[in-house]
């Protein structure tokens, strides 16, 4: 059984492997610097469906199917599926799950949902409640824009601190057997709010949460940042990532050299993403497309995946609320 370490962390005892993963992305993400690592790319944002929401549902479904296939398992081997998306009432995940014969737990942690799913999935396996768990999350630029911001064709400018929601879906299959990068430990984040109200500056809102979770992980396990090949945040963007590094530097941890951010890496600056990518698919596609392949190739041995989520809604923003944020950390290791 897993055991608690320090104040906030959990050490998993069983062998929990990421036996399969898949990443589906949109056209722009495919054209980005990590394009070659993704398993499949959409030609347009509708993917032969008649609404963006349906396209997002299809991404969730197809990513899960691909991940199960990549892991060499059959559909009937999956005992539990969990995950979510950014839409109200998790319609992409829920509607995709109705096409699948798995028990399903819908999770919402905004853009931190991938890490949240991996943590809950690993714990389920560690406790013996399931042997094989599929974790999947999705987000779609066009559905997110219309839910959180403005219509796509509206001719307005975005602020320099804005980020671009990643279109895509990332799925991992966790199993208590087999081979693959191993989930060793995790830290569940606290909801942190430093009073940032600007919904176009999500990096600044989420940086304290990321810093807090990373700090808690490092102190709970008493390890140095450079014991990791990379500490990969989900979607802090350029500005948020810098803030996070500053905050940790103040607490005595130097993350220069190990800190990476999926939001920064998924797009190049020529693609005009402003501060970088965002959305729950940002961390999920980079993890299941890029990082998983690097771990398998043993180019990365040990990473800390820290997905960050801003727990706001358009209603809370209009009511003048600040943005509570959360970050969860998962340590993934590739053994020899």
């Amino acid at each position: 059984m897993a055991k608690r370490v320090g104040k906030y962390s959990v050490q998993l005892e069983k062998q929990i492997n990421m036996v399969g993963g898949a990443a589906i992305v949109g056209k722009l993400e495919k054209e980005g610097p990590l394009g070659e690592y993704f398993d499949y790319a959409l030609e347009d944002d509708l993917w032969n469906e008649d609404s963006w929401e349906k396209a997002e549902t299809k991404m969730f479904y197809e990513a899960t199917r691909m991940a199960v296939k990549n892991s060499g398992l059959m559909a009937e081997d999956i005992q539990l599926m969990m995950g979510g998306d950014l839409l109200n009432q998790l319609i992409a995940a829920g509607f995709a799950a109705r096409q699948m014969d798995f028990p399903f737990l819908g999770l919402y942690g905004a853009c931190s949902t991938m890490a949240e799913s991996l943590i809950v999935g690993s714990m389920a396996i560690d406790a013996g409640f399931a042997q094989r768990v599929a974790c999947c999350v999705t987000s779609h630029f066009s559905t997110a824009e219309r839910q959180y911001r403005t219509p796509l064709e509206l001719g307005t400018q975005r602020t320099p601190t804005a980020q671009r929601t990643v279109t895509g879906a990332g799925a991992s299959v966790l199993a208590g057997e087999g081979i693959g990068p191993r989930i060793k430990s995790c830290t569940i984040g606290k909801v942190i709010d430093y009073g940032v109200k600007d919904a176009n500056n999500m990096g600044a809102a989420m940086a304290p949460a990321a810093a807090d979770t990373i700090f808690n992980y490092l102190t709970d396990f008493d390890v140095a940042p450079d014991s990791f090949d990379a500490i990969v945040t989900g979607d802090l963007g350029i500005y948020g990532s810098n803030l996070m590094k500053e905050m940790l530097a103040e607490k005595g941890y130097d993350l220069r050299g190990v800190a990476r951010d999926c939001g920064i890496e998924i797009f190049s600056q020529d693609q005009d993403p402003h501060m970088g990518g965002s959305g729950c698919a940002c961390g999920a596609t980079v993890l299941n497309g890029f990082l998983l392949k690097k771990l398998r190739a043993r180019e990365l041995r040990r990473i800390l995946f820290v997905a960050t989520g801003a727990l706001l809604s358009p209603v809370s923003t209009l009511q003048g609320e600040s943005i509570p944020s959360v970050a969860h950390a998962v340590c993934i290791e590739m053994e020899d």
């Binding site: 001719g155 400018q157 602020t159 601190t161 600044a204 500005y239 803030l243």
Partner: protein, 160 residues
Amino acid sequence: MEPFDARKSRKEIQNRNQEYQEHIKETMPKSKTGIGCIRAFLVGGLICCVGQAISLFALGTLQMDKESASMFTSVVLVFLGATLTGIGVYDDIGKWAGGGSIIPITGFANSIVSPAMEHKREGLILGVGANLFKIAGPVLVNGISASVVYGVILYIIKLL
């Protein structure tokens, strides 16, 4: 709500937040106002010139009176704004020009057509019908309210 956290008082949290927000205000990347104003001036001015040309065409070639000519100009500009939105060009213009393409009447057309395009999947009545004025609605409500207030003030001044 009082923080449910024994380690920090409300005052400490307030100070921490204030410090962080000041730091962000100082360090966050800012919009380039200078170049933004120049772009807005160029595109906004261009749209006004097009409007003036249409107006002159209506007055001269079409022999309209002044009132009909200004109506005609608005209709043509709205048509152009709506068409450019429909073919997916107006948002690119807006991205470059900012306020320059939002403020003129073509921007108004853009703000009506863009939600209409998105919400047609939710049906004509409750989708398009309910969301058509999602962006322009607040502008209209506040604009008309302001003009009513202005009218009342003007009326009172004239009475004096």
